[in-house]
């Protein structure tokens, strides 16, 4: 297993299969240990800086929770400050300054490639919390962790990815990782939001069975897991098109009853109306458990890049 010590976490596809298995193993150990104790003090006396140049409460709070569950402290640059800082100073200078204070950085920035730029500028590990339409690797890892935990394996699963597959950075990274574990994939989206052709063909070259459809029910009937995503209005030039599409990919209790089989449902959240709240108590509704898994994955990544696992 390759050590992640001193490394940056920038791309969903930077990991070997062995590394992903190692991250999952550490996250799983932390999860068990946390149930007994409230804190695993590997980061005692260490500081995480969260630099969020655009709001992402979920991801920021998850990182800050992870660091504190490891016994460490946090210094935080808020979104309001983020935008004002970026006016007067380059991202690189801000990161170099913060690297004088903290031991590890988690960054979110609207510009694609900004996390790499930050990582190149500083001597401490940088964790990418989302850079524009680029990468969001900790999200992809927590998704994989959740699928494995819910299904007890990653091998030979059939997974349906649903919604905006064209723009979703999370699904792009996620399918790359899933392809290491020999999954079958359904891509369910309206025509205008299809998975980019280069990703689909790259997956097929690696021997992954990929099917594309516009029919959610058809895919669900053949899948073990549904990964839902939001369809964002602002992606459509033609609002009439948006109105036609937005209702097509909705899961509710009636849909699940009609399906006649158990299925596991993930969603990176926030949801708008893709998953009806009447699904929340369905046993396969894993999206809030998925949030909690994000803490364990981020704990694992922090501990590993800091050389503590």
């Amino acid at each position: 297993m390759g050590s992640l010590k001193g490394k940056d976490i920038l791309h969903g596809n930077q990991f070997s299969k062995k590394e992903i298995e190692a991250v999952i193993k550490v996250a799983s150990e932390f999860e068990k240990e946390l149930k007994k104790k409230g804190v695993i003090p590997l980061m005692k006396g260490k500081l995480l800086a969260t630099l969020f140049f655009e709001p992402s409460t979920r991801t920021r709070l998850s990182f800050e929770t992870a660091m504190q569950r490891l016994g460490g402290g946090v210094i935080a640059l808020g979104p309001a400050e983020g935008s004002s800082v970026s006016k007067g100073e380059t991202l690189v200078d801000t990161c170099r300054t913060v690297a004088q204070y903290a031991d590890v950085i988690a960054i979110r920035h609207p510009k694609t490639g900004s996390a790499k730029e930050a990582a190149d500028a500083v001597d401490i590990p940088v964790l990418n919390g989302g850079d524009g339409t680029g990468q969001h690797p900790t999200q992809a890892l927590l998704d994989v962790y959740t699928i494995r935990k819910e299904m007890r394996t990653l091998k030979n699963l059939t997974i349906a990815m649903v919604g905006d597959l064209k723009n979703g950075r999370t699904v792009h990274a996620l399918v790359e990782i899933l392809s290491l574990f020999n999954c079958n994939l359904y891509f369910v989206s309206p025509g205008v939001l299809r998975m980019p052709e280069e990703i689909t063909s790259h997956l097929r070259q690696k021997g992954i069975r990929v099917e594309e459809t516009e029919d959610l029910r058809e895919a669900a009937l053949k899948s073990d897991v549904i990964y839902m995503t939001r369809i964002q209005k602002e992606r459509f030039g033609d609002l009439g098109e948006y109105e036609r599409v937005k209702g097509s990919y909705i899961i509710d209790a009636a849909f699940l009853k009609n399906l006649g089989k158990k299925i596991t449902i993930l969603h990176p959240l926030p949801r708008v109306n893709e998953i009806n709240p009447d699904v929340d108590n369905y046993p396969g509704a894993a999206y809030f458990r998925q949030m909690r898994n994000g803490v364990f994955i981020r704990m694992a990544l922090i501990a590993m890049v800091m050389g503590k696992r």
Copy 2:
């Protein structure tokens, strides 16, 4: 004494007299213990999430201080993020996500009933830090704690509530609690801001002596404690009315000298001009001590709902 373990703190009138006495006792013990040590580490390894969807620096900092004085950590959703989150996501979803990270939640939200809504959605204790014009129970408890500490008893006191008694959520909860201890009450307000009739008659039914007046001096002469509140311009349709009223309920050094007796003065703060700064060094001016008491009360509530007292 009923245990508060696992309970939510939502309403000022959810407490029995025994529970209020228990909270006061724990707060008082914490106060003494904190003087010797800086921290009482009952919440070590635990996290409080402060979800403030409208700004309330005083209450938020008080909760965050309380949690840290108990050895715990904090994750915080700021007001700017709060408003942006609420655009994209229901309050319930935000709270369910945060409940995957934290061990206890303190929430402030402009909508009446929102704290109850949050509490119903999650499995961890929720502390209401103010919901719209509804409830603000930790404020009411710290007020009671302050009166008891300043007067060394809660029994048979005469307390004048002054200012906007119509809209003040704090005074509504406070009089309910005080009624458990057989206090006499003066309600001092302009006609348009009188205490709602249903509260006054409810108190009288419980055998509490209530008198209403527009004359602050008259009430002060017969009272042990004055509880001042702000009169907010935005409550008046008729600004001429506001101008007539706003000067009537002001305490300054001259007023107190003229009174010819010692009296204890509370105010939930922030004040505008209801209490002149020339009163700040008056021995009975308890409003900054009241702020400190808020920390002890919130420490007690956190420890109790978490089953540590």
Copy 3:
């Protein structure tokens, strides 16, 4: 050596030479100790309140880092809240409230004299993190600490202060401190931004050799240290004048090569274009090390005013 216990840190010129030497000594010990451990737990169980009424990410994060490296906790008032608080409440009331929660306050406020006002209102130590065009004493101390560390002495150095010497509060405080150590000073600025006459003559009365010039290269050739500052557009009534001036004080790799000697370069940051990034790897480029030194100096000041050193 005069103890700083219980004192406020308000002005760059409040310190005797002995006190400055003591602060430098403590900061230097903390720096060494931190390399071995991640934390020096002198502030365990104590809380720092950072009250930043205008954004200053660098200074705020430095204070929060310092407190956490000392094992203490932080409660923070953000700039957004700061401005809303200040609407409804006097600065003095806000500070008095926060003094009920925290053990020490770091404040930044746009009004000159506000830190003194805060310090007079509360019983706990107040550290001035910058008040308007007034003082920024922790910056001046970290600058002195950096010069001493880079040059291994403070005696008999020749230091060039470059840029906006008229408005720069940092340079005003810094030259006062340097004058205690018998430095020679070059003031390099365009005519409209010259060091105020009263400061220059005050330094000369104290026997300090001061020379004024508009020529950066001339000063650099004779100096051990260059202290660069930003020239801010908004200081100029005449924008044509700004355009003429702004290019004159720029350090880049070519300038340094042409200089033909090693020199140490400081800058309070953020920089705009006064120092080209091609200088960042130059051995004498000390400005990011300077940021780190800010943490040690603030640790020393916090520990000292709290009576722990």
